[in-house]
Symmetry: C2
Subunit: 207 residues, 2 copies
């Protein structure tokens, strides 16, 4: 797959996981791709915790179900009915959670490029996540980013020290098929907009 | 170029820009790649301001030079001497700045997946930046992320409203050659570490 094909084929996967275990070499390629991401001051400030324990997966899922309810309770009418049809996680079905953390103490004490933008290290972690996502796509795997959780819960669950910030829980695994259309679009939650809505020349122009 | 080749070839580019203007179709492919990134709740919360005006490029560069001095003043000894050799921007040489903003009002009022993680939208913007970076690499272009600036300066410079947060200034342009080794490694600032330093099984383990 070339890069543009991979970018076009990448989807957020929730329903399609088969639970089939991943070969070590495939998983290593995907993680190496993440680790090859750019980072501010070459700090490589990410951590990846691979969670396969059924107990941990179940505990995280239980927490996510509660947070799903919290969000659902904030909706009404058509939004509530539409959200009701949407699956927000494939934690147990994927069989593997990659918990991504941000460690601001990495690459220090003086991280080149971070003195004025404190969040630059956090941005680096996200670049690594996108590399991981694309590599998984090229390998025919699915990734589902779960964000229905509280950071402190996930920090405790995987034992991050206080200075490491949880950034993502990524369900990673083999999938039966790759959806062509984003789940949220298919469910009628929201449609993608064209690039022109986000593009400005020389200065920002309100739309 | 396949995905892994692109990920391996991607560098942060500062010295190599030629200033040659980009064909419209190439620039559009690169921006469409960014716009195809995953986003929380399909909110696509990014803005891209394309800056080519020599006056704006020069004004931004002037600000960045001052911030470079601020960081340099915090260093001493070997760190100061090493930093002295490092170029931190190619703002005028690239001829094009892509200013990336985060608009949290996009995709609302209820953004699916953001009620518990306020920064999830910011994360989405970074995923778009990595797509852009890889697409530029596949097109043979260079990208240099400049982070020696104050957010409020950049907000004013490109006219972002108060609710849009500047996330990046990306120098984007044709390059004479692609460096094989990261600039900071070449200059002796810092070396890349192996993946094993960032990898944990089931729970975080301090290194």
């Amino acid at each position: 797959m070339n890069l543009y094909e991979t970018i076009g084929a990448r989807r957020d996967t929730r329903r399609e996981f088969t639970g089939e275990p991943l070969p070590d070499d495939v998983l290593t390629r995907v993680l190496e791709a993440a680790h090859a991401a750019p980072s501010v001051g070459l700090s490589q400030p990410w951590d990846f915790v691979l969670v396969r324990s059924p107990g941990t997966l179940a505990a995280f899922r239980e927490h996510v179900v509660l947070e799903r309810d919290t969000f659902a309770a904030s909706l009404s009418g058509e939004r509530a009915r539409t959200f009701d049809r949407i699956k927000v996680e494939g934690i147990r079905e994927s069989g593997l959670g990659v918990v991504v953390g941000y460690d601001p103490s990495r690459g220090g004490p003086a991280v080149l490029g971070r003195h004025a933008i404190a969040d630059a290290g956090l941005y680096s972690v996200c670049l690594a996540i996108q590399n991981l996502w694309l590599a998984a796509t090229a390998e025919g795997l699915g990734v589902g980013w779960v964000s229905f959780y509280r950071e402190e819960f996930l920090r405790d669950l995987v034992g991050f020290p206080a200075h490491v910030r949880p950034v993502a829980w990524l369900c990673l695994g083999a999938i039966a098929e790759r959806p062509e259309v984003p789940d949220l679009e298919r469910a009628g939650w929201r449609r993608r907009t064209p690039l022109s809505t986000a593009l400005h020349a020389e200065r920002y122009s309100p739309r």
